[in-house]
């Protein structure tokens, strides 16, 4: 929570602080960590993809908010209980909604989010390719006049004279 607040101040220098500051107890506390390093590493990786529900764009791994701590502990409980990564995340999403996913799954309307970039690249690429090809062929196209154009030129020059 703190980090997001500071960042807003940093990049916006927008407004005096409206929200009460949370004391900087930090993110992951040593006491929360699991003794099994492999399990802890999985927990850390997963917490980086889960959003703290009350924070501004901050994952639970970085967040100071009490609820983020609860989620970190919950996540570790699930992993210790033998959940797979997907099961542990699904368990939390069931209870807190898809809002907690920092990496929205590519399905349904969210597909648009994931496809927007590649789609634009393809569309832009196609337009660029078409116009570049037209461009590179332009001189050849401009070499001669069609018979109709010849006639029109003749007509115009006749009128001038």
């Amino acid at each position: 929570m703190k980090r997001a607040l500071i960042l807003s101040l940093l990049f916006s220098v927008a407004a005096p602080i409206a929200a009460p500051m949370v004391a900087p107890v930090w993110a992951v506390q040593p006491g929360e960590m699991l003794s099994d390093p492999a399990l802890e590493a999985r927990a850390r990786a997963l917490s980086k993809e889960l959003r703290c529900p009350v924070c501004q764009n901050e994952n639970i791994d970085d967040s100071d908010a009490p609820i983020a701590r609860d989620l970190r502990v919950l996540l570790r409980e699930r992993l210790t209980a033998g959940d797979s990564d997907a099961e542990a995340v699904a368990y939390i999403v069931d209870r807190y909604g898809e809002f907690v996913l920092l990496n929205p799954p590519a399905e349904g309307s969210t597909l648009f989010l994931w496809l927007a970039g590649p789609a634009m690249l393809l569309a832009g690429g196609a337009v660029a390719f078409a116009s570049l090809r037209a461009r590179s062929r332009a001189p050849e196209a401009a070499v001669g006049l069609t018979a109709a154009e010849q006639a029109r030129v003749a007509e115009l020059t006749k009128n001038d004279a």
């Binding site: 927008a14 005096p16 930090w26």
Partner: protein, 656 residues
Amino acid sequence: MIVELGHFCVILSLAVALVQSTLPLYGAQTRNPGLMALAAPAAIAQLLLVALSFGALTYAFVVSDFSLKLVVENSHTLKPMLYKISGVWGNHEGSLLLWVLILALFGASAALFGGNLPPQLKARVLAVQGMIGVAFLLFMLLTSNPFLRLEVPPLNGNDLNPLLQDPGLAFHPPFLYLGYVGLSMSFSFAVAALIEGRVDAAWGRWVRPWTLVSWVFLTIGIALGSWWAYYELGWGGFWFWDPVENASFMPWLIAAALLHSAIVVEKRESLKAWTILLAILAFGFSLVGTFIVRSGVITSVHAFANDPERGMFILLILGVFMGGALTLFAARAGAMEAKGVFSMVSRESALVANNLLLAVAAFVIFVGTIWPLVAELLLNRKLSVGEPFFNAAFSPFMTALAVLLPIGSILPWKRAQLGRTLRLVVPALILSAALGALVFAMQTGRTALGPVGVALGVWVVIGALFDLSQRTGRGGIADRLGRLARLPRADWGKATAHTGLGITIFAVCAMMSWKVEDIRVLQIGESYPLGAYDVTLQAVDRVQGPNYLSTMATMQVMRDGAEVAMLYPEKRFYPVAQMPTTEAAIDYGLWRDIYLVIGDPQDNGGWAVRSYVEPFANWLWAGAIIMALGGVLSLTDRRYRVAAGARRVPQGVPAE
């Protein structure tokens, strides 16, 4: 009294801006030289008036005039002078005045240094710049007036947020604003060209320096912000894909694209319509950024949930300027027929690819930033888009850009043979791939991101150096060195900026993949290994600072039995603002930073300690500074200094 003068100057400058935005435009249309000539003095008058009001506000902060609401909310008599002054722009209203000041500064510089611009174009550019001034001055006076008084002034102020009391941060907003607002100049040139209905090489040459200046300032501003976040926030991170960060990154990407496409306009008289569109979009994105940051719509949980009136007003400004400019574009773009002919494989096409990738990258960030808002409004879904998405969705385009860059930058203009150019870069390709593979072999069981970063970084840097050596032609080493020294500054700028990009790419990948992290509880006197180092917590003391209380740890960093550094991470508490801060202690190094943070005392004794080894951290900011330096070098190129933009040159600079 002085405050009222300042307030009056803002109102007067609005009147001047109204004149500047209308009469010269009418004069240009009716070819009335008197009306056209009004633009320059109006722009200068606007700068003087806004500068006076900015001075008045600064004065109020310096003497701590607590009858001003803004001073009460953001200052304190005991605050050091530097922060009293930086407090002027450390808030919404004051920063808006700074914004308008910079806007007027750009307008006045165009008036003063635009002597060789054709009078009609100059009048139109300044008129459009005046319109932006009108919009923002109205915005300030109607919704965010910095000169509001209080009926009952308090004895002292609420102090500036201690986190903002930092020298790095004092200069961060002005740089960022110089960049944001500088893009208004490119916008004004684009709209003026659309009104005029013509774009030629000279136009490209006029618009490029302004874009270059803004881009350089944006680069420095973003780098400063990122550096500050790194040393101040205590997480050792440098970029969080926060909406406010994205707000500054999108215009940077578009400005970078614009820089490159303006070269094609200048040298080859092609890509005119596209360049105009980019110039409009670049400023559009900086307005979108303003909206995101100041409206609080997207990041509304706290910090600046301002009144929605402001958001609506910015949206209105955005709608009017983008709507107007794009309508004009739709009507006139067809008239910008291209002159230069080039084949599919050419420098021009490579620059088109560069533009496409940069624009798509900016678009991806834009979609990701506003998607939560769209999903909530239209689909009634509350979802989040964060770091994992951006890393996955943004990086491929940057990777593609880095792969293409060294090839594209040495392709000949007009018509090139891909095979020939590719053969030239084979050694560079082999070298960078070999280095990447070597690094991959050396590291075990880590992400492939590091080796990829090494390969890409080396590839881009060698590509830039190779580009320079190509430009020296053939012959003996002495001849070539002589030619190297006489190369135009623009060539040096290009190579320097590309080198900076390569270094930045490498550093980003290195920091993301080789960072060492350690979190633990430490008793006093205890040691622990951190990467190749051993760290000992020697003591924790309470220290009284000038305006804060500190919990300061003394930590010794050893390597192979020899002391590397003594570090003193702190936790501070500022009583006036009732705010705690974390001061990480960093041992800066060429190859790595050692980054220590002291946390809370634990119930069962000992202290929580978080520590990092950040590999190549300094390379990241060095890379950004080198990029900016490249921009500056390019800006000092002879063609901008001497007879910049004489319309007589029919084809612009001859293609190399």
